[in-house]
């Protein structure tokens, strides 16, 4: 009998808690200021309450909930679909009695590390409340079409285990480090340069480095993890950057480079164009490299990764930076990108080169 009473009590407590949670998530707290409207919207996103977040979107924005959800959660298997909002900072840029502009800087945890997104949102007063005039990111609907592709792909047949000794095998591609430069930045030694696939077959390339101290001992060993294009097609050049945190350049006697290549199956598609590259200042006054990416093939690129190499007037690589785009590259549809440039180096940048890595969910190789 005692057990039954306890079970009933537990059930009632559970129902109350569920109800309390439901009531809490559905509760709408009107925003009395433009900043609180924006902040409340993103706080709801942070707690995975997208329906609640949508209550802060003004009906006059003409954005339905489904579109709003896609704007927030991402689409087409993009990096945003693997992301979660971590924090939001807001700042009122302009405000009057009925309208305001609020800058929202959101920090997202993604599969490739934290990402920051800055958006200037318009907020309007509706009655006594403020609501966000959410501008949906318009995505052009391409007409149905067939994009012909001269399919170019490399497959590999290796020798079998039962073949004679001395029988030939296909060799790994020849790669060469074209340049190497070592600098110290923010308490880290940074090794950077370029590597080229000098062969006629594609290769999976990695670049490692070992720092040797003045006594000949190893100070550290690191590889260029995502600051390199790992898959290099014939004659393709990739920048690389290897960071050694908490190391001083003055302690380094020499650097031993370890390029490695592996023959892999690969495809020559998709081709991604990098349009309208330019160095400019962003809203906060920092130097950035901007442009647009256009996927010239017919397949979706889910996660594009931009690598930028900066050269001085002697043609030396002085910095390598990268950025992921949290939007998927649909065929023929430009997507903007922005890569940081070190402000202390901006004046020395004589030229730059942008390459694009890509990850596609449906890609076989």
């Amino acid at each position: 009998m005692k057990g039954h009473v306890l079970a009933i009590v537990m059930f009632v407590v559970l129902v109350v808690l569920v109800a309390a949670g439901t009531v809490h998530s559905a509760r709408f707290t009107p925003a009395r200021t433009p900043e609180s409207a924006v902040r409340s919207l993103f706080e709801k996103v942070k707690s995975n309450d997208l329906a609640g977040a949508y209550t802060y979107v003004s009906p006059s924005a003409n954005v339905d909930q489904q579109t709003f959800t896609k704007d927030i959660n991402g689409r087409d298997g993009s990096l945003r679909t693997y992301s979660k909002i971590e924090s939001v900072e807001t700042k009122v840029l302009r405000s009057d009695d009925n309208q305001a502009t609020v800058r929202a800087t959101t920090k997202w945890s993604t599969a490739v590390g934290p990402m920051f997104d800055t958006r200037d949102l318009k907020v309007a007063k509706e009655g006594s409340d403020w609501k966000v005039l959410w501008e949906s990111e318009k995505q052009a609907n391409l007409p149905p079409q067939v994009i012909p592709v001269n399919y170019l792909r490399w497959d590999i047949i290796r020798r079998g285990a039962d073949e004679d000794w001395g029988a030939q095998n296909v060799e790994s591609p020849r790669i060469r480090i074209l340049s190497m430069n070592a600098v110290e930045k923010d308490g880290s030694v940074v090794i950077m340069g370029e590597v080229r696939n000098e062969d006629t077959v594609p290769g999976f390339v990695s670049v490692g480095a070992t720092l040797l101290g003045k006594d000949g001992k190893t100070l550290g060993e690191e590889t260029s993890f995502d600051k390199v294009s790992h898959t290099l097609l014939p004659s393709e050049i990739s920048p690389y950057r290897i960071d050694f945190p908490k190391t001083k350049l003055s302690d380094v006697q020499s650097v031993r480079m370890q390029p490695a290549s592996l023959l892999i199956p690969a495809s020559a598609d998709p081709v991604i164009g990098v349009l309208h590259q330019r160095l400019e200042k962003d809203a906060s006054g920092r130097t950035v490299l901007r442009g647009e990416l256009v996927n010239q093939s017919g397949q979706t690129v889910n996660i594009p990764h931009v690598l930028a190499t900066y050269y001085d007037d002697a043609g030396r690589v002085i910095w390598v930076s990268d950025a992921y785009s949290d939007k998927a590259l649909l065929p023929q549809t430009p997507v903007p990108f922005s890569v940081d440039v070190r402000d202390d180096l901006a004046a020395n940048v004589h030229s730059y080169r942008v390459t694009v890595n890509q990850y596609s969910i449906d890609r076989v190789q």
Partner: protein
């Protein structure tokens, strides 16, 4: 367990009692049977100890000992011992060349490079014995009508060579031969850097322009392999740069660029092509 002990003792005794020797056979070639005459009467136990074979059997003294061909396949020193105390040692030499292990490097090589192809041949007989006698090995390299050959004599069973790659691309047949025995390897000769790279505007649309190169060849006229990166760059009037890393497909590269006014250039690696002025009514 007892047999090795007895065998060891017999070998030791055989070494001490050097007086009772069987007539050792001369010029024994691997894979050939041998007959060794014996004297006396009665029976004895035969022990045959070779580099690849050990045997024990009863033999009749006064009759020749028959060593079968399959017992003498491995080249090297053999010892025949009889329990009566007689013994003989002889060498089995490799048979005539019957097999070549041929290492050809690399499997891909650019055209017209001196000394980049290496070949090493290990000459064996039909029983996998390394043929140590000096043997002439002919190395031949041929691709698309070009042919080069060298004959090298083996040293300790090995012959090697270095050869130049031909000026023609293609699958070069690299052959090592000794008499009738031949082994074939393929060395893919690939075109070098592009030469005389040029492009033209192939198409104009509202969205942009399509540019394509002429068929891309190296300075010897070989087609540069498909997949090689060709970079098209457009520097517009506002100083903005557009780049497309295109790939050679079916001999030429093609890219779509925005319809901006500016200077269009093309490059493949360190090789620059022509420049075009595009947009604004000009080309």
């Amino acid at each position: 367990m007892r047999a090795p002990v007895i065998l060891t003792l017999l070998l030791a005794l055989g070494g001490l009692a050097a007086a009772a020797d069987l007539p050792a056979p001369q010029n024994v070639v691997a894979g050939n049977a041998v007959s060794i005459p014996t004297s006396g009467s009665g029976s004895a136990t035969l022990y045959l100890v070779g580099p690849g074979h050990v045997a024990k059997r009863e033999v009749k003294l006064g009759e020749p000992i028959e060593l079968k061909a399959e017992e003498l396949r491995v080249a090297g020193r053999y010892t025949v011992l009889l329990s009566s105390g007689e013994q003989a040692s002889f060498f089995v030499t490799p048979a005539k060349p019957g097999e070549i292990a041929f290492l050809a490097r690399p499997s891909r090589v650019p055209t017209a490079k001196p000394g980049v192809i290496s070949g090493v041949a290990f000459v064996f007989d039909g029983f996998r014995n390394l043929v140590l006698q000096p043997t002439a090995v002919k190395f031949e390299l041929s691709v698309q009508g070009t042919n080069a050959s060298q004959t090298v004599e083996t040293k300790n069973g090995i012959a090697w060579t270095r050869m130049n790659s031909a000026s023609k691309e293609g699958a070069a047949q690299f052959v090592a031969s000794v008499g009738e025995v031949k082994v074939n390897r393929v060395v893919q000769q690939t075109a070098g850097e592009p030469c005389n790279l040029s492009m033209r505007v192939a198409q104009r649309t509202e969205k942009g322009i399509v540019v394509e190169t002429a068929p891309i060849r190296d300075c010897s006229g070989n087609a540069v392999p498909d997949g090689t990166i060709v970079t098209f760059s457009l520097l517009d009037a506002k100083g903005r740069r557009t780049t497309v890393d295109s790939r050679i497909k079916k001999g030429f590269a093609r890219a779509e660029l925005p319809n901006d006014q500016g200077t269009l250039s093309v490059a493949a690696g360190v090789v620059m092509g022509n420049e075009l002025q595009v947009g604004g009514g000009g080309q």
